[in-house]
Each structure stands twice: as structure tokens, then as C-alpha cells.
């Protein structure tokens, strides 16, 4: 057991709420629609986080609560009914509709579960309704995906077939690659959750072995366990080391020898290590400070330290699930400072005092830190880019070396011309 230093902090935070995860979930399941029941703030948040909107009609929207909806809950339920009817007649291609709770809907105790139940009866055979909360009073950023997946678990049919279930949104190309590698290793029945179509949910049961692709799925894991699934605990598939251990853990659960795994992935690992070299020239020895946002911070820190030679100043995480993160924590160097939660002002004081070379942070903080002369990387990019697996290790390192390289280019040019 590694002796990392675990700290907790509370105070004002600078993080996204769970609604933000809709931005990648709706891309993963193009036949689903995410209807936030919330305020104008919620609508504005999602469109701002999604950047400029490029779709003619997006597969997410907000039923904006107005004054009259707050006056009587009965009316609010009726109003929501009306909005859903309008939406479905306008968008007949929707197969699954997620009713997403928000801070205001949670506070006024709008009962989305009951609404979903009623709608399920009415639209039986046409659209399925599920509900979860992406509210900021309960969830941070990626936890929204946890809520969405947890809401789908009851809809998954039972099956005792032996299978490997990859849980957590993956880029499609990464998913294909993983399936091919598992196939080569000798695990042939591999499915993904969430699936590419919301209606094609995998069946689960006591012979389902769950392998997480993302670290932020605590609630989903708990419910899958209740359904009899076996959870494979492993580091997450970021970088060569994490991915190798991840493949090994899966192989072990299927009683496949380590040798077989190494035989398959050794060439990939060698290739990846070579590709990492040019990034490590830049990254090695540089000081890294991770602010909390996506819960990927601990795995990223492990990768950037162990494989890229970066020095860890502080690793922030919005939430730490020790069971799921145990194998990651074991891979971190002793005395790594981990801070769960945030007091953004105090944390920024520590950033300034430690003079890091690179800070991983949210978009609200990036330019202000750059203006202070500190290079940054947006954490939101980790959830939009294909970063998982051995083949992507160099691309993942590239996300961090690019800002440093850019800084070098601009600084040295300035010096040369002066």
C-alpha cells in the first residue's frame, strides 16, 4: 500500500456540475435525448460547455422552469408532460428520453421518477423514459454519467452468458480497438455500456465480469454488483502501464495466462513507449498540479509521473472512491499529496506558491493562470478526446506536452528577437 497523503478540503469550488456530461453522452447514444428539467442557467451552462453549437437541432435541451411552475408542483408535472409530448412529436426518432434533474428541480422536489413512470406507460413500445440527477448540489461533472448509466441498469435484461462488460463511455474507435485486443487475448464476448444505441443495452448477470474504463462510476458499479455482476478491480486504461494492468486484470478474471496477454500487447507497448519518448523530452522533470474536476486526475497523475517523469505537486479530485481507486493509489509515489474537494482560492494560492510548470484545470481558470505565466491544460479535453488504451498513450502525453512546447516556442522567439 502506497503511503499517499490524503487530504480533504471544502469551500468555494470551480467545477462543472453533472449536467455537463450530457455533452459526451448524447454523442455516444445518438438515438437518445437528454431533457434537463431546470432553469435558464442549466440551458446556458450546457450550451457554454458544449462550446459553439454546431448541430441543427441538438439531442439535448432544457425544460426551463418558469415562475408559474414553482407555484404548484401538480402544474409543473403537467407542464413537463406537455413539453415531453411536444418534443416527441417533433423528434419521432428518439428512442430513449433521459429526464435529467437539476439543482432547482431537486430543491422543489419535482418527482421525475413518477413522471418517467407515467410517460413509460403512455409511450410503451415507442420511447423509454429514465430519470437521473445531474444537479450541482449532488454531482460534479463526470458524476452525471454515473447517474445516467445507473438509471439504465434496471432496463438491462438478465443473462447468465459469460461476458466481459466494459463500463464507461469510450470513443468508438477506442472501443473497437479494445475489442480487437481482447479478442486476440482470448476474451471474445465483450460488450460496452453505454452502448452505441440506447436500445441495445447489454444483458447482465452472474457471469458478467465488469471492467471499468472510467473511474467515476461508483453508483453504477454498486448497482451492477447488486445484479450479480463481478467487478474487476484494476487501474484505469490510461497509458501503457495502466492499460497493461487493466488487460491483465481482465485476463485473470477469465483465467487466461499473463503470458498470453504480454504476447499480444508487448509489441503495442513497445511501440507506445517509443512514441512517448518525444513527449517525455518535454514532460520529464516538469512540475504538475492537477485541480479537481473529472475524477480522472489520479489516473492521469499516475501516468504522467510513472511514464512521463513529471513531478507531482498536488493531485486534486472532486471525489475519491477508495475501493475503485485503490489500485491506482498503490501505483503513485509515496507522499503524493491528494486533495479531495476544493477551496478554489486556497488551492490557487498553493498553485502560485509551488510555481508548477503545468496546471490541469477547468476552462474558467485556464486563461487567468496563463496570464500569470503558468501553462495550463483544460481538463474537459480528457473527456472529449480518445485517450484510453496503449495505442493512445502518446496522444494522451501530447495533450500535456503541447502547452509546454508552445510555451517554449513563444518564449524562445521572444528572447531571440529582443
Amino acid at each position: 500500500m502506497s503511503k499517499v497523503e490524503l487530504n480533504k478540503e471544502t469551500g468555494p469550488r470551480e467545477v462543472f456540475c453533472g449536467l455537463t456530461s450530457i455533452v459526451w453522452l448524447h454523442r455516444r447514444m445518438p438515438d437518445a435525448f437528454f431533457l434537463v428539467v431546470g432553469s435558464r442557467t442549466c440551458a446556458h451552462l450546457i450550451q457554454s460547455a458544449a462550446g459553439v453549437m454546431i448541430f441543427a437541432e441538438p439531442r439535448f435541451g432544457t425544460a426551463i422552469l418558469e415562475e408559474k411552475d414553482l407555484a404548484g408542483l401538480a402544474d409543473a408535472h403537467e407542464e413537463l408532460d406537455r413539453v415531453v409530448n411536444d418534443l416527441i412529436s417533433r423528434r419521432p426518432e428518439i428512442k430513449t428520453l433521459f429526464l435529467v434533474g437539476s439543482c432547482p428541480s431537486e430543491v422543489i422536489k419535482l418527482d421525475l421518477a413518477t413522471v418517467a413512470e407515467k410517460l413509460n406507460k403512455r409511450f410503451l413500445g415507442q420511447v423509454r423514459f429514465v430519470n437521473y440527477s445531474g444537479s450541482g448540489i449532488e454531482t460534479t461533472f463526470t458524476q452525471g454519467e454515473d447517474g445516467a448509466l445507473k438509471a439504465l441498469v434496471p432496463l438491462m435484461e438478465s443473462s447468465d452468458d459469460e461476458k466481459l462488460l466494459l463500463v464507461g463511455t469510450l470513443a468508438n474507435n477506442v472501443e473497437d480497438r479494445f475489442k480487437k485486443i481482447f479478442n486476440n487475448i482470448g476474451i471474445t464476448n465483450v460488450e460496452s455500456f453505454p452502448p452505441r444505441q440506447s436500445t441495445e443495452l447489454p444483458k447482465i448477470g452472474k457471469n458478467t465480469k465488469v471492467l471499468l474504463t472510467q473511474p467515476y462510476l461508483s453508483d453504477t458499479v454498486r448497482d451492477l454488483k447488486h445484479r450479480g455482476c463481478e467487478i474487476i478491480y484494476a487501474p484505469f486504461p490510461l497509458g501503457v502501464e495502466g492499460s497493461t494492468k487493466w488487460f491483465l486484470a481482465a485476463a485473470d478474471a477469465f483465467k487466461i495466462s499473463e503470458l498470453k496477454v504480454h504476447e499480444v500487447i508487448a509489441p503495442l507497448a513497445n511501440r507506445a513507449r517509443q512514441a512517448l519518448e518525444k513527449h517525455n523530452e518535454i514532460l520529464s522533470g516538469k512540475k504538475l498540479f492537477l485541480l479537481p474536476e473529472s475524477q480522472l486526475e489520479i489516473s492521469l497523475a499516475r501516468f504522467l509521473h510513472n511514464e512521463c517523469g513529471m513531478e507531482l505537486v498536488e493531485v486534486g479530485t472532486p471525489y475519491l472512491n477508495k475501493d475503485l481507486m485503490d489500485s491506482e493509489l498503490n501505483l503513485l509515489p509515496d507522499d503524493t499529496k491528494i486533495v479531495e474537494g476544493q477551496h478554489v482560492e486556497k488551492q490557487l494560492d498553493r498553485v502560485r506558491a509551488s510555481n508548477p510548470d503545468l496546471v490541469v484545470c477547468g476552462m474558467g481558470l485556464a486563461n487567468p493562470l496563463e496570464a500569470e505565466g503558468i501553462s495550463t491544460k483544460w481538463s474537459i479535453e480528457m473527456v472529449f478526446s480518445p485517450i484510453h488504451g496503449i495505442d493512445q498513450a502518446a496522444d494522451l502525453a501530447g495533450l500535456f506536452s503541447r502547452p509546454l512546447k508552445r510555451n517554449q516556442i513563444l518564449t524562445s522567439k521572444t528572447l531571440a528577437t529582443h
Binding site: G11, P12, R13, E14, V15, F16, C17, G18, L19, T20, S39, R40, T41, A43, H44, L45, Q47, S48, A49, V52, M53, F55, A56, E57, P58, F60, G61, T62, A63, I64, L65, E66, E67, D69, L70, E79, L80, R82, V83, D86, L87, R91, E93, C103, P104, E106, V107, S135, I137, E138, E345, G362, M363, G364, A366, N367, P368, E370, A371, E372
Partner: protein, 526 residues
Amino acid sequence: MELTLWTYEGPPHVGAMRVASSMKDIHYVLHAPQGDTYADLLFTMIERRGQRPPVTYTTFQARDLGGDTAELVKRNITEAVERFKPKTLLVGESCTAELIQDQPGALAKGMGFDIPIVNLELPAYSKKENWGASETFYQIVRTLLKDKVNEIDKINPQRWKSLGRRPKINILGPTLLGFRCRDDVIEIQRILSEQGIDTNIVAPLGSSPDDIERLTDADINVCLYHEIAETSCEWLKRNFGMEYTTNIPIGIKNTINFIHEVHEKLDLPLTNKGELEHKSKLPWYSKSVDSNYLTGKRVFIFGDGTHAIAAAKIAKDELGFEVVGLGTYSREMARQVRAVAKDLNIEALITNSYLEVEDAMKKASPELVLGTQMERHSAKRLGIPCSVISTPMHVQDVPARYSPQMGWEGANVIFDDWVHPLMMGLEEHLIDMFKHDFEFVDGHQSHLGHTATKAPYSKENKHEQSNINIQKEKSILWTESGKAELTKVPFFVRGKVKSNTEKYALSKGLPEISDETLYDAKAFFG
């Protein structure tokens, strides 16, 4: 409950943030859950600000709700005052905090600070961003100046004469995340200073609470953006007698009217009247022979009230376009926009739904769209050139170069920004002349290339499919001669001509459309 896929305006507390972030020595404690911090990125990303907005979010969580959220508010206020040492503290709540009724403003006032505290009550379930900005600015002005109301005499706009100094004005309304505010302020200050008029205070942008207290040193106020500053200007007029301008100096005529208005209010003689219209290149560029081809260009306009109205006037009177659509998302300015639309013999579109705007755009078949960043997307899908004239905007609408919308240079910028997306006059003429040559590719456009891209979702394609089916059902046959004649119509109006001709044929009960029908329809519609 309103189904919203995308919204032109954020919630009112984002308006408050725009004012707070525009100012110095001010801090805003916002009672809000985590997640509401997203608003910071509007400033740091779209405006590329190197400073965080001066906002502390109390970050209450579900587990706090059973306990004492008021204590949490107080703790955050204490920390914020200690850390940031503001000269004025704004205290308010976002949508969720409004529901739990902690009344953070009242709490703050009871904490014994010796700085002014502005209690912001911005109803999140009925109001929007621009209203929030206007209300916040008004509350700041009122809080900081209310003690002066009985202390000083009413301000006579002509008092500068007896005081033996140059006339002085305030410029009110510019904020961060406003459209080209930074450059408009520079341009207006430059124009006024040429006329011998000094600027006392610009606010909110760049001002401090101390500056707000000195607003009454000016002789009149220039209300540069009605959406943000009219309420404050009205209060200053009511309580201090300060006159304010109502002309928005966008476009040559409006700029000249604005200068006249300022001079009249100050009773300052305007000595260079004749020079004014030569200060910008727009009048000459518009008159020059190449611009002949701009005559009657069909333009569709949608934006905030101020910019949409100004654009309609410039388009019609200064560039000789035909305005075929005009609308706004600013409900507060619906009346004014409707009046301008009425003068243009069109009906104003007042809506928050970008899909309605896109539909209207399609129906109007314009050759140029002037809108917000969303109309840029819609226009791109439809293959129509577009220029952005209003917020909401994207990072590319905050250019590095000086590019105001107001004043003389603003008019130059507008000429370039609106005309460049179009085909150059001579180019258009040549294409028309040579379009039957084999080198000519149908749909050829200017060097800027506006290829319409198909929207990457299946619904629109399905729509198209069904449209085609509908047409087949009640279709009118185009004869060979009709088709041939249609291909001779310039491609950018071909769609319109086709639908008009079909409409005409249907109304006359014609079974088919020949070349003659096309000419009949043309004569019929004029």
C-alpha cells in the same frame, strides 16, 4: 415551462457578472451551487480575459440544505471581503438559491462591514441576462449615489459654460461580453473629444465604485446601450436632472444625429456640420460604382434590439439593401423593433427560438444574413453569407484588431464586414455575363466560398425526403422550356423564383410550367 434547445440570453445573474467583471474594486458573492461557475468561462474564454471574474460562489450542496446555508453564505462573504478587499460588495443568488430563500443580501448588510453592500434581487425564473445587467448597474449607481440626491443641485446640461470648463459627459452601458463595447467606447470618446467634449466616466466598463460616485460631475450622460444603461440614465435624470442621449451612433446618419443631440443638450454650437459625413469612408464606398451591385440585396437581420435596429437603418438607407427580415430576442425592445419593421413593410420577429429564426430566414431567402453567432450557423447551413452584428457571440467575434461598430470607424468596419461576405460587384457581373461558358461551375461564389454543408443529423434529411414526396403528390410539371429558362436565372435567387412560379401556377390552376409561365409569374410578382 419552456422547451429550450439553445438560448440567446443567459440567466440574470450572468448579467450581474458582466457588470461586476467590467468594473474594478468590486466583488460579487453569489449564493449558488457548484456548476454555476461555468459562467467564468464566458469571460475567460470568449473574451480571453486574463483575470477571473470577481465572483465567489458559495457552493452549497444537497447535504447543506438540511442545515444552515445562511452560515455558509456568511462565511463566504467574510472570506471574500478579507481576501479581495472590495470597495463595494454585490451580494445575490442564482436560480437555485432563490428557492431556498436565505436572503444573502440582507445577511450581508447585517454583518457590519463598512463598505457599501448592493443587494441584488434578480428573479431567475422570469428575467434574463440583459435585464440582470441593467438592474445590477442601476442598483450600484443607486446605492452609491442615493445619499447625494439631496446634497447637490439639479444638474443643468449647460452648466459647463458658467463653470468655465469644457463640457463633460459620461458614457454609460458598455460591459464585457457586449458586442465590440471596448472599441465603441474608444471611438465615441475620440469623436466627442474632436468636438471639444471631455469624458468624465465610462461605466460599467473599466470603472470603480469611486468613479460611480463621481458620475454627477458630468453635464449629461451618453446612453450607449439602452439594454444595459437606460434604467440608470433614467434614475440619474429623475434624481439629478441629468439629461441623456437616446441616439445610438451606429451608422453615418445615426452618428451624425447623435452628435447633433449631444450638442443640442449641451447647447454647444456645432461648427463642423459639413465635415461630419466625410469622416467615414462608408458613404463614398457605398456610392462608388462597384457598389451598384449592392442595390436591393436581400438582407435578413436578427440580434439584440440596439444592433438589429441600427443594422436595419444602415442596410436600407446607407447601403441600399432591401431588408426582408428583421427581428430581435430582446423582448424589452420589441416595441421599437416592431416600429422599425413596420416602416420597412415587414413584420418583426420577436422570439427566443433560433429554430423560428432559421425558418424565417429560409422563407425570406436573403442574400445576406446579419445576426448573432447562431444565425451564422443557420446561414452556413443554408449556404447564405453572414456577418455577426450582435451578441451572443463566439470567441472569433472578439477580434484582436480595433473594430468598433459605432462612429466613423464603426461605419467603415460595418461596410467591410457586411460587403466582403458577398460577391464583389464586378465579380458578380462577370459571372452573370459568362455563366453559359463551359468553365462556369453552377453555384460558383466568391473567393470566400460559401458551400452549404448538410447538417449532420438525419432529421433534416428525412424532412427533405418528405418535402420531395409532397411535391410529387401535388407536383406541377416543369416543361423542358420551363426548366431551361429556370437554369438561366442566377442561382442565388433561383430557389425563390422557382417557388414563386409554382405558387403562381397553382393559384392559376395551371397543369404545367413553361418558359412563358415563368415570365408570367415574374410579371405577376414584379
